[in-house]
Symmetry: C2
Subunit: 345 residues, 2 copies
């Protein structure tokens, strides 16, 4: 740790901020047809990706995202010190089987849809602490694997509630690199740095509706955001963009209310990955969700528009609904968690 | 990081080694009747712990382990900077709901039965790197929750293979503390320190038998052990004890063979948590397994006998079978992973 400061109880301020050397994203056809279609590095022509099952398709998506990120960084798996990944599937099989293929020392994570932010925060911590020169991090989800596991097979054609979110078929990954090693990469364009991370708490205000994940997550995201502002002494207007993922439309409205109650007005600088990824005409109801939602949106649109100069200071809060069918069946409510990272260029 | 050295590709040598300030363990009745019964901090009188479901019983076990560890350290949850935990259940519900109750900033992990070692290694890294003064880490499992999720409800009474392991009903936790803060605790007895950590790779030699997890995990543990010896330049005889968990009897025999092929003879200094926790008369077949196996054995017997002076240098390798019913149904083999930490007193 090169002088990293702990701010308040939950925030780290990196004094030699780790650099996002490159990213990689791959999504399914519906996401490719959405408003961000041109930003994704690769779009699958069908949701099976030539595999025999939805689960194997999701593994292929995640592996593609990692491979693209490595290619864009000009690196091989052997150049990476640690890999951090997770996904929504039981036993995080997408991450585990991809880690098997990559053969990089691996720490498996479970943060539900917050996994992109969790792995990005932890990756920055490990690089800043000198424990790794380069970390490969990422997350994935797939509409059909998530529907089958959490609700019912999509083939049943159950009617979806208007508060429901559409699990993104997609994956995102990045290479987080120690700043002193960026020169080795030969990349000379400005690169985003991870300057802060705020690790969230599990927060549960009692939402039990598995068709309304946005409302289950919003209180945790509000808690992390307010803590971040308090820890750093910043206000929302410090940032060009506050991007959450994935509260979607219903959860975003609740977040606005909750943060305003805590005297922080996010204003029009707040966007949500779940609201950005689909067009209303795509009938995704409240919007997108899944680990792959923020992973693919942050890994493509956000980072590319930072490189283009559109955004300079971005606060990304990944949100996870820690929903479990068996816990719900036993009467439990759905806790949420949010982890934040600050990206600056 | 106070001068931590990276040894080889996968090992960290802490120069200001984090201290295990206190631990807490709680197990079920069968584990309490086993050879290590007197070492556990608490033994439940029945497997339901007064709860309405096996899952809620497992959450209660994990929460007890955390509470005991905090009590033994003389600390409150608000004294802890970060909590790291995981378990075997889908969406790691034991860890998530316990984190909700503890209200500590939380990073969820999934490493199957390697989670105790994964969280201990990561906890030491975070403390050594200056990112946390005190980390609370732990893991749990429960025979009935694991049987239902991975195989079939125990009530079915399916005949078990002789290679099968018995999932431990138990949990273990510890408080990992920055060395300069130990004096604040008022604890003056010698305390174990975490001097090294070796982060493992996912290894898969093709085992597909879900009733033989020991054989699925042994290659990954052998890989981590051999890498640890190569990275540190040490031989097995540097250690008083090499404790794996949980290969049990079948996997331990395979580990001995695999490490001997790599010219490292573990000799009689190797024991396995899965072989230690039950007496052969308890009919657990190959032995114990589950996140709670190594969590409860290391958190009680190993640490207490280190305090007693019986063991001074212990190499603990937590092993995880990254088994997934859905991946197995789709023809996949079962990958394994092993993470190592060195405990010295």
């Amino acid at each position: 740790m090169a002088g990293t400061k702990k701010l308040g109880k939950q925030t780290f301020a990196f004094t030699a901020p780790p650099v996002i050397l490159a990213s990689g994203t791959m999504v399914g056809p519906m996401e490719g047809e959405g408003p961000l279609g041109e930003y994704f590095h690769m779009v699958a022509s069908d949701g099976l990706l030539g595999e025999q099952s939805w689960e194997k398709a999701e593994m292929a998506l995640l592996k593609s995202a990692f491979t693209i990120a490595l290619d864009n960084a000009g690196l091989q798996p052997t150049d990476i010190d640690l890999m951090l990944a997770g996904d929504l599937l039981n036993q995080i099989i997408s991450a585990n089987y991809t880690a098997r293929d990559m053969a990089i020392p691996f720490l498996g994570l479970y943060g539900a849809c917050s996994t992109m932010a969790e792995s990005m925060a932890l990756g920055a911590i490990l690089v800043d602490g000198g424990f790794a020169n380069r970390v490969l991090q990422g997350a994935s989800s797939h509409y059909n694997t998530a529907e089958r596991q959490y609700r019912g097979p999509a083939e049943y054609g159950s009617q979806r509630a208007l508060t429901a979110q559409w699990t993104v078929t997609g994956a995102g990954a990045s290479v987080i690199c120690a700043p002193e090693l960026v020169a080795q990469s030969g990349i000379t364009t400005p690169l985003p740095r991870i300057t802060h991370a705020t690790v969230g708490k599990v927060v549960d205000l009692g939402v039990k509706d598995a068709a309304d994940m946005g409302s289950a997550m919003a209180p945790a995201v509000a808690d992390t955001l307010v803590t971040h502002f308090q820890d750093t002494g910043r206000n929302p207007d410090y940032y060009d963009l506050i991007v959450t993922g994935d509260l979607a439309n219903v959860g975003s409205a609740m977040l606005t209310t909750l943060t305003r109650q805590a005297t922080y007005d996010l204003g029009n600088r707040h966007v949500d990955c779940g609201s950005l990824i689909y067009d209303p005409s795509q009938d995704a109801h409240s919007g997108g969700s899944g680990c792959g939602c923020s992973a693919s949106v942050v890994g493509s649109y956000i980072l590319q528009e930072m490189a283009n100069g559109k955004f300079k200071k971005v606060l990304f809060v990944g949100s996870g609904a820690l929903m479990s069918p068996i816990a719900s069946q036993q009467g439990e409510s759905i806790p949420g968690i949010g982890h934040a990272v600050v990206l600056e260029i």
